[in-house]
């Protein structure tokens, strides 16, 4: 969706203001919100793409006026409510897994790899010219607005990976080939850029072949 999270190229957000000696957490609630988000993320009640979708679906004014841990927390509340997990007793038909302390090291070490065994040939090869598709889906997508309609070149073929657009919609992993695509910065921004190139990971459905 064209939400407030899709920030590439937006202007007017002011200085970055890095904080010298920044602590990992600024407040106790940040620690707890962080841990609750990870623990419930490991429960299987939703997947990573559904969590991202919940964050970017927050009201735009709330998203842009919140710190990042607040964004996580606001989305966590909504994910839980939508699944009936804040009702007593919990409303979910299948109770989620509970992340136990003893399992934390193994769960973190395993992570959530998204690469899947190839089931078909990749459509593009390194060096191919591709055009990022002009599209404006109302659901979750990982194709930033600033790329849509622009031509780039395949820089690397990264294997087949879980497709976030269907995964977030509850329609399964539907793995697709993933590519790193190199875009000349001037193609994206005209003269108003100080980058030489911008490199973005794009799933195959985000790309069309561009005639040479």
């Amino acid at each position: 969706m064209n939400g407030p999270h899709d920030l590439g190229g937006a202007q007017g957000f002011g200085p970055i203001a890095p904080e010298a000696g920044e602590p990992r957490f600024h407040d106790e609630w940040e620690r707890r919100a962080f841990a609750l988000t990870l623990a419930m993320g490991a429960s299987g009640a939703w997947n990573l793409d559904q969590a991202r979708s919940a964050r970017e679906s927050l009201p735009p004014a709330l998203y842009l006026s919140s710190s990042y841990y607040q964004i996580w927390f606001e989305a966590l509340e909504r994910l839980l409510q939508a699944r009936g997990l804040t009702r007593q007793p919990p409303g979910a038909s299948t109770p989620p897994r509970v992340l136990k302390a003893a399992d934390v090291p193994a769960v973190l070490a395993r992570g959530g790899p998204t690469e899947r065994a190839p089931t078909r040939e990749a459509r593009f090869a390194v060096g191919d010219a591709v055009r990022a598709r002009m599209m404006h889906p109302t659901g979750h997508t990982r194709l930033p607005r600033y790329l849509r309609g622009h031509v780039g070149q395949i820089e690397a073929v990264r294997g087949m990976h879980v497709y976030p657009d269907t995964h977030a919609a509850g329609e399964g992993e539907q793995p697709c080939w993933l590519y790193t695509v190199r875009f000349e910065a001037k193609t994206l921004w005209g003269a108003d850029t100080t980058a030489a190139s911008v490199h973005v990971d794009c799933w195959e459905p985000y790309l069309d072949a561009e005639p040479a």
Binding site: H5, I16, E28, F34, A35, P96, L178, T194
Partner: protein, 213 residues
């Protein structure tokens, strides 16, 4: 929100809401409080940029490791013990004379946790996420870094589950240093690309490595 004196601060709206939700989820049996504490302990105290610094120091010291990192960064980094959540699929970006890399996630906060730990607040801020892809020189200037006009700046936007680690150029004055000594001068910003590792002054180089014969 937060005042200057934590002990004077009253509970904020978020303190109350997060505590209430945590209590509810514990009561529902959906989270294990000991697991929450361990998650916080892990990312507050154990995982951090010191991990990535080991990768960089090894890449600077061992050409075979550097090649491996270029071919299969996930395996090369795992060989040093750094694996897992938010680092499942790693790619190393090598700075070189005239080529500088900068990493951002314009859509959210993707960041290579096993090697750099949790991202700083600025990395997740609209200010950084919006500007890094269009005006990286302006961004770098805010970090006190001005690169020559002739240096090509390549920006990587982490839109998928690949996580990028910048391997900065090894600075002058570090010949003969051990990996431990090299790791000690590598910092987080240089591995994101908002910094570089500057030349080491002769006096420092001598105090670390001993006088050059």
């Amino acid at each position: 929100m937060s005042g200057n004196h934590p002990h004077e601060r009253s509970l904020t709206d978020l303190d109350v809401r997060v505590r209430a939700l945590e209590t509810l989820l514990i009561d529902q049996g959906l989270v294990d409080p000991a697991a929450l504490d361990l998650l916080i302990e892990t990312y507050e105290h154990r995982v951090g940029p010191h991990n990535g610094a080991r990768v960089v120091a090894r890449a600077w010291s061992d050409p075979a490791y550097r090649d491996w990192l270029q071919q299969d960064a996930t395996a090369a980094i795992a060989s040093l013990g750094f694996t897992g959540r938010q680092g499942e699929h790693m790619v190393a970006l090598f700075n070189a004379p005239g080529v500088h890399h900068l990493v951002v996630c314009t859509l959210c906060s993707c960041y290579p946790w096993p090697v750099l730990g949790l991202p700083p607040a600025w990395y997740k801020s609209p200010a950084y996420r919006s500007r890094a892809v269009i005006d990286p020189r302006g961004v770098l200037a805010e970090f006190g870094l001005t690169l020559p006009d002739s240096t090509e700046i390549r920006v990587y936007d982490s839109t998928a589950e690949l996580r990028y680690l910048v391997i900065p150029e090894r600075p002058q004055g570090t010949q003969g240093w051990s990996e431990d000594q090299l790791a000690a001068i590598v910092n987080r910003d240089a591995m994101i690309g908002t910094g570089v590792i500057g030349p080491v002054a002769d006096s420092v180089a001598e105090s670390v490595a001993g006088p050059v014969a």
